[in-house]
Symmetry: C2
Subunit: 225 residues, 2 copies
């Protein structure tokens, strides 16, 4: 019947963050063939005695220097078209990471030149454009029915910061008053910290931290649907 071919398995990462009112993705410049010099998703081969999730966490740490405290990491999908890598048969298990806008530079990184790139991205190596598109769509969808937008925020944040995340990821404007009511009335979404901070302008805003909810009831639906 079938032959049992040998595969290489990589764990690649779609690392998203919100910086400067823009959705950005962490990319690396490839230093070796194929696609030398092109942008690519960070990632690498899964080690011999390593779990897939562990490989993703390791790659994330190697590329960003962080263990993503407060961030989010989940499996996205797997890609294994026979000719997707000219070096041979490679199956990539893609992961989606959502991180807050960290003041930490990408320096100390393993890759030769990692950088945050604002979406949309022009061209990527391999089938990474497709993987990136799938990751972005997953993130957009998950903001609707999970509190995952808080993964883009620091441990303590204001409702306005949270709204800016939604507006950036969805590319749509949300009414500040209705958004405030919705977030504070959804059980377990956010919890008040008790303190307030004053931004550059306007009335001081109350600080919140992430709540215990894992899903939003009812969901936060995208406008125009």
């Amino acid at each position: 019947m079938a032959d049992y071919p040998e595969f290489s398995v990589t764990a690649d990462l779609v690392v998203l963050t919100v910086r400067d009112a823009a959705l950005q993705v962490l990319l690396v410049r490839r230093g070796v063939e194929p696609y030398r010099g092109a942008w690519a998703l960070p990632g690498g081969f899964v080690h011999a005695d390593e779990d897939l999730d562990a490989a993703a966490v390791r790659e994330l740490h190697e590329e960003t220097g962080l263990t993503a405290p407060g961030g989010h990491l989940e499996q996205l999908a797997s890609y294994g078209t026979p000719d997707r890598d000219p070096r041979g048969r490679v199956v990539t298990v893609a992961y989606l990471a959502l991180l807050p806008d960290l003041p930490t530079p990408v320096a100390g990184s393993d890759a030769a030149g990692a950088a945050w790139v604002t979406l949309p991205v022009a061209e990527l190596a391999f089938d990474h454009a497709r993987i990136l598109a799938d990751g972005v769509e997953r993130a957009r969808a998950k903001l609707e029915y999970t509190p995952l937008a808080t993964a883009f925020c620091p441990p303590e944040f204001t409702i306005s910061e949270l709204r800016a995340v939604y507006e950036t990821v969805w590319g749509a404007r949300l009414d500040p008053r209705n958004f405030h009511r919705k977030v504070t009335s959804t059980p377990g979404f956010v919890e008040p910290v008790g303190r307030s901070v004053t931004a550059e302008r306007g009335r001081p805003a109350q600080l919140f931290r992430r709540g215990p909810a894992r899903v939003l009831h009812p969901p936060m639906l995208r406008p125009g649907s």
Copy 2:
């Protein structure tokens, strides 16, 4: 740095159907070690020059003898814990298939004894219990915001049959009147065929076919949430 170990890659299937008012999964009895004689998900190794999706379609055809017309097939997740298969390093790309209750027997199948088993299932080989649980949860969630319940139905069906699918997969009773209003008022969910059929008892019911919608607006939410 890293070594580049060799992996075997399999495509395993969580094939679900609704039969006899029960949610059932297609399982095979393993004829070889390891886990000889135990129930397992159908599946097999991905061929040398074969896409992952193509391998899933091929395995589905080999096990059920069908190309799943009107059914649904999507990638579920990948599993690659180092010790999940005692024969070596195996990564499984799991797929979820939703099929109507076909009068076709599983005969002519590749596996030694494939059968429909009513959930919940006692014990499975490898980590297939985990994969099955993930597949069932995915199916339950997708019924909420997609018209995928029609994948469990024949090409033409009544609202009651569709409701029976929801009730079986969710394990909850739904009000027939509200369900009827919801389904027929959601744009693109179902389309009237124009004919009616009379069941064993009661007033004849109108026949419907699947509509063009790919998502449900608004979603059909599970009770008790």
